[in-house]
Each structure stands twice: as C-alpha cells, then as structure tokens.
Symmetry: C2
Subunit: 113 residues, 2 copies
C-alpha cells in the first residue's frame, strides 16, 4: 500500500498513546500489576482501567482480578500472544513507513512542489 494511506489507516486500538504505552510495557514482561502500570505510564486509575478494558475486549490483553491473602484486591495484566504480535507489528510498521517515505525523499509527487 502507499505509505501515506497506510499511515492514515493505522490501527487506533494500538496506536492511541496511552494504549501504545501500556502494550509496549506489557510486551516487555510476562505479567504486570495494575498499580505498576499506572506508575509506569503516568495514567490516572480511571483512565488506565478503561484502556485496559478496551484492550481486553480487543483480545490483546488478559486481565486477572484476585485477592492477596484473600484480602487485598489486586489486578494483574498480561499481554496475549496476539497482543504481543500486534504491538511488534505496529512498531515495525511505523518504522517501515517512515523509512519508505525517507527513501522517496527528493522524488516529490505530482500536484505538489
């Protein structure tokens, strides 16, 4: 596909900054705690919560809510295999699009100067 078209059609579930941060963080570990993710990304709790829900609905992460010592609630999140592949693909896609455009460089297109 043409690089600019590809750029304009990037998957927004992944591309959105907060979620790209979360997914990229998650892809660096097998498991992360909610509060840890919050600290890492600087998102508010509410915000992080709804982004995680969106990612889970998209099948990119799995959320596990449980209790420590049957008392303290703890939410942990892991990225799925699909999720891991998708983030990696996204970063590679960004790189490759940018590279393609850089290479064309001088070759300035019709109807533009």
């Amino acid at each position: 596909m043409l690089p600019y078209k590809e750029l304009a059609r990037l998957d927004k579930l992944i591309h959105e900054p907060a979620r790209l941060a979360v997914l990229t963080a998650l892809s660096a570990c097998t498991l992360a705690e909610f509060l840890f993710l919050q600290e890492l990304t600087g998102l508010t709790k509410g915000n992080l919560s709804s982004h995680l829900t969106k990612l889970e609905k998209g099948g990119l992460v799995v959320i596990d809510k449980h209790f420590l010592r049957k008392k303290i609630p703890q939410t942990t999140v892991r990225i799925t295999a699909d999720g891991r592949a998708a983030v990696e693909r996204h970063w590679k896609q960004l790189q490759s699009i940018y590279q393609t455009i850089q290479q064309q460089g001088a070759h300035s297109p019709q109807n533009s100067r």
Copy 2:
C-alpha cells in the same frame, strides 16, 4: 522522562493517524493541493477538511483558498516551519522511545515478571 510516560503523553494533534499522514506528506513538499492530499491519504473530503482545519488552528499548516482562472476553486496547503519541526520531532521521538525500550530489554522492571 521515562519512556512509557513519554509514550502515553504523545502530542495527539500530531499522532492521530490521518493527521500524521497529512503532516508527513506535507513535510515532503512545499505545497500540496487538497485533492492531491486526499488521494494520497485515502481520506474522505469531509474528513480531510476537518483535520486540516484542526492542523491550521494548531499553527502547523497554512491553508490557501483561491480560484484558478478566477473560476475553479482550489485549496492548497503548506506546512509551517513549526509544523515541519513538530512532525520531524515526533518521528524522532517515536524512534528514540522505541530504541530506549529495546535497549532496556532484559532488564525487566519491579512488580512485573
């Protein structure tokens, strides 16, 4: 700044796919026609129009509406110096964030596995 925080706080005016496509296309030329941009990005007219308006309000592009042979309306767009700097910075920022995260690699953070 921590890379994940930086990621989560990316400038959305620039990061949004359609606008990143437009800005990146514009930064490769001094001037582009509306219809050409539309073809290049695959956006609908309405969509492109509102994104351009947003970019103009943000001072990243300048829109010029005029008539060819005093008859045919034509809208051309140029990126501003600020705009050009901002897109370039954005791409570099993405690269640098990704690189930083890649390097940390094995060093898996606290509260995660």
